[in-house]
């Protein structure tokens, strides 16, 4: 392996050749690949619609009468033209409640992941960057939290703060934070040793700037993918906790709480159980489709 081998076949570096590589930025390239993925497009369109529904439902429905009120004439109305998804044990339109409930599921799903992301990213990148004592401390704490099933964490949080949107957010962000800490630690450890980090130091940047500007942006792709998947997971987890009675209290039309309600009436009004669950499933499906699409778009190597 002589070092003096001439690179005969290497093309000349000309402005023309460089253009070919400079044509698209990394982000543009990712978006282009994402747009080719039909599943991801479908998922994205659905999620955009859902966000619009969540926002608009606040204006078109009256919370006190239509969402949590009692309409004696419509009790157990079967799904039909007037009520596409039927009515529940208090005569409330299930479609309206599901549309309104999107606010809770989306807020909790996205909110808990964002909070968890901030905590996990900071702790994980510190652990990955410094190693040693900090790494041990963070990762052992992580191991402990990780070994407690998230339902147990929620039980503890709820017994301290009571059932509310805030305590649900708190208990779910703990689980999210542990997974983000793991992922960002691994990603930072991979990037830490590379030359561009050294050169950033050589330029005289302080450590926090090196982490923020040079290390974290280079670890983003596994984290972005995890964010979409975690939102889906947390929507399911939130509804599960509400179903068990340690999440959002009735009569708030959170999808899991609606299922918990509907369970009692599964014989007389099965639609009370069917549709809120479908809403959860379709939403999470859309998020998973997007997450899978993002993963393929960000890391084309994976999709051989």
């Amino acid at each position: 392996m002589s070092k003096n081998v001439e690179h005969v076949n290497e093309p000349e570096v000309t402005a023309e050749n460089l253009k070919q590589f400079k044509g698209r930025s990394m982000a543009q390239e990712t978006v282009r690949r994402l747009m080719k993925n039909k599943g991801a497009i479908v998922g994205m369109i659905f999620l955009i619609c859902l966000v619009i529904i969540a926002v608009v439902s606040g204006f078109i429905f009256d919370y006190d009468t239509q969402i949590i009120g009692l309409n004696p004439t419509e009790i157990y109305a079967k799904p039909g033209l007037a009520h596409p998804f039927g009515c529940d044990n208090m005569g409330r339109d299930i479609l309206a409640r599901i549309m309104y409930g999107a606010r809770y599921s989306l807020t909790i799903g996205i909110g808990s992941v964002l909070i968890g992301l901030c905590i996990g990213l900071i702790l994980g990148s510190l652990a990955g960057f410094y190693g040693g004592f900090i790494d041990n401390l963070v990762m052992r704490a992580n191991d402990i939290l990780y070994s407690i099933p998230n339902i147990m964490i929620a039980v503890v949080v709820v017994s301290i703060f009571g059932t509310s949107v805030a305590s649900l957010l708190l208990s779910l962000c703990v689980t999210a934070a542990t997974s983000f800490a793991r992922i960002s630690r691994a990603a930072v450890m991979q990037v830490r040793g590379q030359e561009f980090v050294e050169s950033a130091y050589a330029m005289g940047l302080p450590t926090w700037k090196v982490i923020l500007r040079h290390i974290i942006p280079n670890c983003l792709s596994p984290i972005i993918v995890q964010v979409t998947l975690a939102v889906g997971n947390n929507i399911i987890a939130a509804s599960s906790l509400s179903f068990l009675g340690v999440g959002i209290p009735v009569p708030i039309p959170e999808w899991g709480a609606m299922l918990s309600d509907g369970r009692t009436y599964i014989r007389s009004a099965p639609w009370m159980c069917v549709f809120p669950g479908l809403a959860i499933m379709v939403t999470v499906l859309a998020l998973n489709l997007m997450g899978d699409g993002l993963r393929d778009a960000l890391d084309p190597k994976l999709k051989k």
Partner: protein, 311 residues
């Protein structure tokens, strides 16, 4: 190997101490005043104070905590405020039910997901692959307890084949185990597929084919064995999911396991049962994780060698 297991068991002790401290502290903040729960409403202040003294509630927090930890070691974790039964006994009495449910669910999921994962990987980019992956995607996206409700709707209320709740025999186990197992199967199918796809392209697979090994032998002996590590990891990682899933399935199907015990105790504000059950669950999880790590060693001789070296 035995030294490794012993070392892990010793390392578990501080973890459990810390976890139990956390939970004990959190629950003592919130459990409310047990004296009010136990005594009738017309009890005098003196009676309340006497009971408080008797239960050791007036002691400093750490005294209470260490008394509690001592109790864990001897299997004495207090008695339930509601039923008056010993918490440890209640937990141990319920444990087999949850283990039966979780175990059956894991077996169901492995029986479905590994063949399905291999099948989709072998037929990559055909309609079979797409079908399998769409099924798995639906499975991952579905809330477990909703699947349970739908199974009740179809198989108990619609067709009348299986009971919708209770625990008087094997037929009662089928629906809850399916509920937990199908969700798990979806996850493991995805892992199996990607792990198999990685392995299929390796040179040793070509070598195995070239030396004339049969298709089955190539896939199972050379392929699956090498693909197993990520799959076992995935299964191992899902045990906390199995616990959560079981709690949900137990609630849906009134299966009298640990999950139902915890959920009911929360609703009745039965703090000793909740605290005890959660701590025992954490110990259980730590033990299961250890077993998963030992299973790795048997799947991969390299890991076994590593364990032995470290001692």
């Amino acid at each position: 190997m035995i030294r490794y297991i012993l070392k892990r068991l010793v390392l578990m002790i501080p973890t459990i101490l810390l976890t139990s401290l956390l939970i004990f502290w959190a629950m003592s903040l919130t459990g409310g005043d047990p004296v009010q729960t136990i005594l009738p409403e017309n009890a005098t202040v003196e009676q309340q104070e006497a009971l408080r003294e008797e239960m050791g509630l007036n002691d400093p927090f750490f005294v209470q905590y260490f008394r509690y930890v001592g109790g864990i070691v001897t299997g004495n974790m207090g008695t339930s405020y509601v039923t008056g039964l010993d918490v440890f006994d209640t937990f141990m009495h319920r444990l087999p039910m949850t283990l039966a449910l979780g175990g059956t669910a894991v077996i169901i999921s492995v029986l479905i997901s590994i063949p399905l994962g291999i099948w989709t990987a072998l037929n990559q980019n055909t309609w079979k692959d797409t079908l399998g992956m769409v099924l798995a995607l639906f499975g991952v996206s579905m809330p477990n307890f909703w699947l349970g409700l739908m199974l009740i709707l179809i198989f108990s209320l619609g067709l009348g084949w299986l009971p919708s709740g209770g625990s008087d025999g094997i037929q009662y186990l089928i629906l809850p185990a399916l509920t937990v197992g199908l969700g798990l199967a979806a996850l493991i199918t995805r892992t199996t597929r990607s792990s198999m796809l990685d392995v299929i392209r390796q040179d040793y697979m070509t070598t195995a084919k070239a030396k004339g090994a049969s298709f089955k032998r190539v896939i199972y002996r050379h392929g699956l064995r090498n693909a197993m590590i990520p799959i076992v990891t995935a299964i191992g990682m899902q045990f906390s999911l199995v616990m959560t899933g079981s709690a949900l399935a137990e609630t849906v199907f009134s299966w009298p396991g640990i999950g139902l015990l915890v959920v009911n105790s929360i609703n009745k504000r039965d703090t000793p049962t909740v605290t005890g059950s959660i701590i025992l669950c954490c110990i259980l999880m730590a033990l299961i994780n250890l077993i998963v790590d030992i299973v790795y060693a048997y799947c991969d001789p390299r890991i076994k060698a590593q364990y032995s070296r470290k001692g």
